[in-house]
Symmetry: C2
Subunit: 463 residues, 2 copies
């Protein structure tokens, strides 16, 4: 970690002797005890300040230098807090917060057939998706997530709620071979996805995407059509990939190949593909993913809780594959806290390689920020605090007892911090939460609506 040299001091001294230079009018300054930029040099400014104009970061410097250069309409003085890029959740199913804790500790097929599928069959609707997404958005804003990637049904409803809440979303309409709530056939799903993409492709917060569910839940033609749709509109294509050993078996039976090779053989991998999980891969598979620029969404908590396995994160990173972090849906995890995902990514990598140096704290933080942005092919826009990028950032309290003493802020962010320590969440230059008060959602209404709907979920599964 290097500090920016304090060139600003020269300017300060100069200002005393000459006329006060004209200060540029901007919308917001955020000041912290440290600004962890996550730029390519991993610079940390202590103290530091971020200058924001509209939806864009225009400068990062010492608080004194920023004060000299800019006149801000609003200032967030988080002098006892750490400022860092907003966290990027690269894999979830937002409305599934409605099923969190409904059933745990079951074999996958029991869990799906006895609880999740019956609950979804009886409760998924545009209204359920709106209520669930509002609850998920509230939880994400409260825990410092500023961009999230989703795969679910009625994705246009998810997009509307996400934009209203002020979050950035990479949102994929699910394509699946069997009949689901929003499409009786994959063709219907593809038509819905196309309408969705057209509706949202110019939205400043929403990146619409197409999300063929998985290799084992779609036939070859549907996978090819999904990839083609993504390419035609230049939008992301999101898929569950190599999550379990069962999927490897299916690929072998149907394609006589690994999942990575099977998807390559049908021309599925494209320049904006995001593959969620990627647990069961060979070294040759990693080369395939690297060759096509595929990003990986690593979900350590879900992979442990569902006993799926341990993704070879260190191998991916060594090969230059961008690995982001995800929480997965709250039905399997059971929360959307990216601080837990960071800690778990580090713990799981160390255990699975039997090497305590694997995925150090800095790498876990990278995966939750800049590497997540790269996995989404959006590193030009988000993932670090740098001039020209979108103003997506958070401030995090460091005053909890468990955060004392403080020797290394990056260690603390990964190993002892929780989402509840986040104090401010800013997306696209807009303050969504300040001092833990969310401004874009009515918290008590959101929770009351969810609890009312939960009664229907209980009835659906006979609990």
């Amino acid at each position: 970690m290097k500090r920016l040299c304090a060139l600003a001091l020269v300017v300060v001294a100069g200002a005393v002797l000459t006329a006060q230079p004209a200060r540029r009018a901007i919308s917001l300054v955020v000041i912290g005890r440290s600004v962890i930029t996550q730029n390519a040099r991993h610079q940390i400014l202590s103290p530091g300040a971020v200058a924001i104009s509209g939806n864009e970061i225009v400068d990062v410097d010492t608080p004194d230098a920023i004060a000299l250069k800019y006149r801000a309409l609003d200032t967030i003085a988080a002098r006892d807090q750490i400022v860092l890029p907003g966290l990027i959740n690269t894999h979830t199913h937002a409305p599934m917060v409605m099923y969190r804790g409904l059933a745990d500790d079951l074999a996958l097929m029991d869990w799906l057939n006895t609880y999740i599928f019956p609950a979804e069959a009886k409760t998924v609707s545009p209204e359920m998706v709106r209520i669930g997404t509002r609850l998920a958005a509230l939880e994400m804003i409260e825990s410092g997530t500023t961009t999230y990637t989703d795969m679910y049904y009625f994705e246009e409803e998810i997009a509307k709620v996400t934009a209203e809440a002020g979050l950035r979303g990479v949102l994929g309409e699910t394509i699946i071979q069997f009949p689901v709530a929003d499409a009786k056939t994959p063709a219907e799903g593809l038509a819905r996805a196309e309408r969705f993409i057209k509706e949202f492709k110019d939205n400043d917060l929403i990146v619409p995407a197409v999300a063929p569910h998985a290799l084992y839940t779609n036939d070859r033609a549907t996978l090819v059509a999904s990839a083609e749709l993504g390419r035609r509109f230049g939008v992301p294509v999101i898929i569950h990939f190599a999550e379990t050993q069962d999927e490897v078996k299916v690929a072998r039976e149907q394609y006589q190949m690994t999942p990575a090779a099977a998807l390559e053989s049908i021309g599925f991998w494209g320049p904006r593909t995001l593959a969620a999980h990627g647990v069961w891969v060979t070294d040759a598979d990693i080369e395939i993913l690297k060759r096509h620029g595929v990003g990986i969404a690593h979900n350590p908590e879900s992979n442990m809780k569902l006993a799926s396995g341990a993704a070879p994160v260190r191998k991916y990173l060594a090969a230059g594959v961008a690995v982001g972090l995800g929480t997965d849906g709250a039905a399997s995890n059971n929360d959307l806290d990216m601080f837990e995902a960071m800690r778990q990514a580090s713990f799981l990598a160390k255990l699975s390689t039997m090497d305590p140096t694997a995925v150090p704290a800095q790498t876990a933080l990278d995966m939750a920020t800049i590497l997540g942005a790269k996995a989404l092919h959006m590193e030009g826009l988000i993932g670090s605090i740098e001039p020209g990028k979108r103003a997506d950032l958070i401030t995090v309290g460091m005053n909890a007892t468990r955060q004392n003493p403080l020797y290394d802020p990056v260690s603390h962010l990964v190993y002892v911090t929780r989402g509840d320590d986040v104090r401010t969440t800013i997306v696209n230059g807009k303050v969504l939460m300040k001092d833990r008060q969310v401004r874009t959602l009515n918290r008590s209404e959101v929770i009351a609506d969810a609890n009312k709907l939960a009664q229907k979920v209980r009835e659906a599964v006979g609990r």
Copy 2:
């Protein structure tokens, strides 16, 4: 989960017809939306109330029934919260909170030789131990731990601070072959341990113990003498056991046996032994531990972060070995939050057995409460909310966004709750924290003292 049948209603009806019966005067009633008793039948009362007289639980019933039977000096009405037994941390090194986050992600010997040993050599003193234990006690009270097991130096200082803070402690004076801050030789350590045991053996909160550090850091004579000291005074004997593969290698070289068999061969295992970690054991080793009634302190977070391995928790439980949970010291974990330990125990067991049904939420909660009490051979006193046991209990908020909706309180306690959700901590009938205000420690003073001392730690390791 079964509910207590509402026999109290009969009493209520009767009371209307006859004279009001005299109500017994008691000190405290705690009311919750649910009382999770953790008794042998896993009873949950919703709503429920706990009647406390002095340091003892005298009754558990519906709030109405408790109101009819008792007149309490004080009432904690936590009607939106869950009441459960205080959590039992079966393995930590309290003062090591002073080294949390000082160095992470290093190979074990680098970590010890470059950071921990130099920091300890230059900073461990009675004063450091007091300051560190106060900080640890604050963190434990704030996160719902009511009993903790410790191994460190100057354990008499730890005992004094623990009793002042009002926590229950099973505290072991460390015996180690090489010179340490409080003993130049193991003989000195044993003499200090004996004085410590004599001083605290009648304390209502402190269970003094002897803690030979490990098989690989003590010779045979010291191990035997330590076990003998424990037996002579009928106090617990605590040891690090089979934590790493290196220890297995040492046992093979020095004893031509596994660690469990080696310790059996010298008569080490006794009726009150607690073995921390127990990662690398054979099925025959588990039988040895079972035969001697040894308790295991399982430390899933530390075992993952240090890449030690995955303890065979399911095998231990199937064999009838009592497995409690521990956080390990904050230098390796890096916090003392038992909710994290529960979640991690479940995740790690599922991953390491590749079975999502391993260590379900209820079992994780058992390990943090009644099984932890059994591992400490204290199940007659603590670990569940039952009449006759010590009044060690906590109330936990369920209103965080991530805790909505709520289908199953046990699932939520393990999978989405954090120590920060704890609202009330009661030990031995005394309210140590109410509405997150700790009463027995001055929070700002404790943190200021720790941060002042941290400067010496920084200097000791040149950071």
